[in-house]
Structure formats: C-alpha cells, structure tokens
C-alpha cells in the first residue's frame, strides 16, 4: 500500500515539474520582445542602457537556466509576478479572488452532486414509472438551457421584478457589515449565482447516477441479496448505492480539479469576484502574466484533485490499489 502511494506521489511530482517547465517555456518561445510588453509604446524612444536596466530589473538578461531557477523559486515562495493591467501583485489578486470561487463553485459542486445522486437513484429505482419520466424530462430540459440565459432570467425575475436578491457582486462592499449581518449579506448575494450553477450542472450527476444505478440493479448480486432475504431498503442503500456511487465519485473528483477555474460564465453574468471572472478579465485585457498565473492555478488544482482521487479511491473501491491487508 505504501509503495502504491509513493509511486503515485512520484508520478504527480513529475507531472508538476513538466507543467511548470512548459509554463516557463511558452512565453519565451513566443515571438516578439518582452520589452514592448514591459515598457509599452515608449520602447522606441529608450536608449539601450535604459532597455538593459529594465531587462536587468526583471532578470531577463540572465541565462535561460538561471531564469528557470529563479522562476521555480518564485513559484515555490508563492510569487506569481505582477499584473501590469491591474497594477497589483498576482498573488494578492488570487488570494482575494480564490475564496469567492471556492465558496460558489464548491457549494455548487456539493449541492448539485447531492441533488443529482438523490434524484438519479430515485429515477432508477422507479424505472419506467411516471416519476422517472418526469425527472428525466426535467433534467434534460435544465441541461439544454445556457447558463448565462438562466442567470439573466433569474436576475430579471428575482432581482429586478421582485427585488429579493442583489443583482451583482459577492457582498455589499460599502455597508461595512460585520458578524452575522455580513454572513447573511454574503448568502443573499450567493443565492442566484449558486442556483444557476446548480441548475446547469445537476443534470450531469443525475444522468450518471441514474445510469449507474440501473446497471447495478441489473447485477446478479442484487438478485442474490434479495434471495438472501435482505430487505429492499437495505438492498437499495447498502448493496446498490455503494456500487452505483463509484462513477459519480470519479466525476466529482474530476470536477473538483476544475472548480478553481470557477464558473467563468456565471461569475461574469453576476459580476462575482471569483477566479473565473479574473481569468475572463485577464484574457480581455491581454494581461499575459495574469493569464499565465490563472492557468497555472487551474492546472495545479487539477493535479491536486487527481492526487486526492488516487489517494481516496482505494477506500471507496476495494478493487483499486491492490490488497490493503493480508
């Protein structure tokens, strides 16, 4: 078992090193001079001494291996560079945006998984009934709607018409709320984007759970459990659910990795200050260091989520990870 984990860690370490190297090489392989980018239009009027000074300041006159070492050093110490458009350190920007994305996307993932699993299982248990048909139709309908459209509809009904929820943002910045007041303020801002996110992502889990549960119910061991005299309830939860959840767990782990990328569209529609919107802003304003940093963060979290999945999977599925005990 230990060998299994050590092997996995080594694998992921290699992936991270490769990824960092690629991330380092990409901008250096791109055509054009970094000076234009660093100094802007003024570069044409600068003397070669002034140019050198700028290059020195950013360590660009060092040899490539030296640059690589300082790049790695910066990443390890959490220094992602400087955003020239936002005029701020990228690490600070990410630190500010990440909690909001974790809140929105994390809650969205958890809630949509729970709802999807519950209804997916219910649908499979009542296969062919009107409950099954209605659930299936409803979830298919939901998944067919574009997220920005749902978002806009929700805003126009609940914010504009009924005035129940705020239109944009993650909290009312100007009011300086504290304690429980601030908590409820954040919650009120969260309702609409979270609902939109759950509505568009729930069908995925629902379909996987329904299909997986149908497969499991057709397995011989379910009939065996029935022949053993096991009660239906126990069969559903102890025998069928455990097995049917395996594919859902896989998808959950994978989505966990992409979670930090945020729900770009939804964050944009609701002007929610998360990483997804940051990425959108950086792309629109061609803020290359920021683009690079956000992509790096997403890659990191995908790798970490995969590692997590690899570590946890043997506990969920005994078939994975060899023999735990003899």
């Amino acid at each position: 078992m230990l060998k299994f984990y050590v092997g996995k860690f080594l694998q992921y370490f290699l992936v991270i090193v490769l990824m960092l190297t690629l991330n380092f090489l990409l901008p250096r392989l791109m055509p054009g001079n970094p000076l234009v980018f660093l100094a802007g239009e003024d570069v044409g009027f600068m003397t070669s001494e002034e140019k050198n000074e700028i290059l020195d300041k950013h360590g660009l006159n060092d040899s490539i291996p030296q640059q690589y070492i300082s790049y790695i050093k910066n990443i390890v110490t959490g220094d992602f560079g400087y955003s020239y458009q936002q005029k701020r350190s990228i690490a600070d920007l990410l630190k500010e945006r990440m909690p909001w994305t974790l809140l929105l996307a994390g809650l969205g993932l958890v809630i949509s998984t729970i709802i999807g699993v519950m209804f997916g299982a219910l649908s499979a248990w009542r296969r062919g009934s009107s409950t099954d048909a209605n659930l299936l139709t409803m979830f298919m309908f939901l998944s067919a709607m574009p997220s920005f459209w749902i978002g806009m509809i929700l805003v126009s009904i609940f914010s504009a018409q009924l005035g129940l929820f705020p239109v944009f943002g993650a909290e009312s910045g100007w009011s300086n709320l504290t304690g429980m007041d601030r908590f409820f303020d954040i919650l009120r801002h969260l309702v609409l984007p979270l609902t939109t996110l759950v509505l568009i992502s729930v069908t995925n889990t629902f379909m996987i759970m329904r299909y997986s549960m149908l497969n499991v119910l057709g397995e011989d061991y379910i009939m065996m459990a029935k022949a053993k005299g096991v009660r239906d309830r126990v069969i559903k939860y102890k025998h069928a659910m455990r097995n049917a959840l395996l594919p859902v767990a896989t998808v959950f782990m994978l989505s966990l990795g992409f979670m930090l990328g945020g729900a770009t569209v939804i964050e944009t529609v609701f002007a929610y200050p998360g990483v997804g919107r940051l990425m959108f802003e950086s792309v629109v304003s061609r803020d290359y260091p920021l683009i690079q940093a956000t992509f790096l963060i997403i890659t990191f979290s995908v790798v970490i989520a995969n590692l997590l999945a690899d570590i946890l999977y043997p506990f969920i599925d005994p078939k994975v990870g060899g023999q735990r005990e003899k």
Binding site: Y221, M223, M224, G229, R242, P318, K319
Partner: protein, 328 residues
Amino acid sequence: MGKTVLSVENLSTFYKTDKGISRAVENVSFTVEEGEILGLIGESGCGKSTVAQSILRLIEYPGKVVKGKVFLHEKELISASEADLYDIRWSEISVIPQSAMNALNPVHRIGEQIMEAILIHEHVSKKEALDRTKVLLELVGIDRERWKSYPHEFSGGMKQRVAIAMALACYPKMIISDESTTGLDVLTQSQVIALLKDLQRKMNLSIILISHDLPMVTSISDKIAIMYAGKLVEWASTDDILHDARHPYSRALLDATPDLINRDKKIVSIPGTVPNLVNIKSCCRFHTRCPFAFERCKVEEPELKEVKPGHFAACFLEEENHELTYTS
C-alpha cells in the same frame, strides 16, 4: 426416500414482451424429496432458471408467475406474503447462483456477505455469525482468515466455493444450484461438483441442480427432469432417463451427447431450432423437430403422465403406444 421437501405444481411463468406474451415456463410440476438431488436439464432459454427464480419468487416485471403452486414443507410460496418470503428465503431455501463471479457484491468483504445472511435470519451475535462464517469457509476448502478478502481477490473456482458457503449459511434443507458450474474449467467444475455431493451427503440436503451439461448431471443426480421450450417433457430416475427415455427429446439429447466409454457412438444433432415462445399456440412444442410427430402433436398439448411408477413423460406416443425407434 423420505418425505417431500419441495413440490412444484403446474407452475407457469410468462413474460410480457412487445410482441405478446412469452410463455417461458408452462405447467411445470415436479417434487424433490429429502436428501435427493434432482437434475433439471435443458438447453439455454428453455426456462430452467425461470423455474428457479419462480420458486423463490424472484421474478420481476415484465415477468410474472401466472399460475401454479410451490410447496416448501407444506408452506405455499406463490401466495405467501412478502414478509413471510423474506423469512423463508435463505433460511429454508437458498441458491448457488449462475456465475458466482457476479453474484458477490464487489465492495463488501465476502465474510460480511455470508454473515449478512446469518444475521438476517437468526438472532445471533456478530461474533457467533463470524465464527460460523469461518467454519463454513473451511467446509468448502477456503482458509478461514480469507473472510476479510474482497471478491476480486479470489479465482473463479474459489468464488464458486464462497457462493456455496454462502448458500449453506443458514443450514437450509433445500438448495438450488443454478448453472453454478458453468464457466468453470472441467477440473474446477468436477471439484465443485464433488464438494456439493459431499456436503449433500453430510447435511442431508435436497438439491435442484440446474444445468445443460447432461453427463455432469447424470453423474450425481438421483432423478432428472428434462425441460424443453418452457415445458417439462420427462421426469424420472437417472437410470430410467439413461436407459429407458420415453420422450423423443430426451432420446435426442442423449444421442447428442458424446460417450467416453462407447467411443464408436455416433453423435446425432437435433435438426431445427427452438420455437419462439411468444404467443405459442396449443401444440407439443417439440413437434417441429420430432421425427415421430403426427397430426395430434400439432394441435394438442401433451400432459405429463406417469408411464411407469415414478417415471413421467409428456408425449402422445406413450398414449398411442407407438414404438419409439429411429428409422435412420
């Protein structure tokens, strides 16, 4: 032999299909006595497993037991309440399933799966159940400490042994072995069969051995019932089936089986195919392939009749006293 343990009377199980009603099992009757092994023989799709599932009332939509009675020690199962069934299943009648590979839940330890059966039916502590599980595993030739293992950590033959141990968990009097050796290599198969026979003798079990492997079944069965296209065509002692088969299908089946001792025996295949059971009309279902079929076979269904004490066959030739000889 002793008293009757299981008695099946006029059992009919139909399946609803898009094209109509498939009469998968119709008017099947037989009994199994204490300590007896009954071999239930037939080709794939003839309704052997459906009979087994009907006895335990495990038939699910679109299938339905439409007629018949099943008595297990005087207790009728087809009309029994669900609650009664839960108690009867496994404690009095258990199954060694078709392909044990899939019959064990992959995410639970095999010991837990055996214990589960014990704990449902008997008021014993977990420790007692575990102790019995270990004894059962040893009984079928598996190390007692392997109860902790998961199904994927066993070979096919060992899984089959686990399935047998599980079937014995509550010391039932009656076991249905549903094609339980199909898919195993001949060596493992003979080991499993020998184990089954040994346990049957020790525990005085009654067994219904469902299979399409005639030589294997004749080697250990006391009686044999032969099914064809959802009907029981002949039911007699193994000796009678081997040497005095009355139904043309039984004869054809024997002719189609290679013989290890008489190597010169010519193997004759049965011409034609099994009829479609959807909306099948009243007739002898074998008439399309029977070399002796006459007018009556095409319009009337033969009943299972006692042709001599303890030997039943469903064929008009018996009534009409036709001589059953091949012209070829």
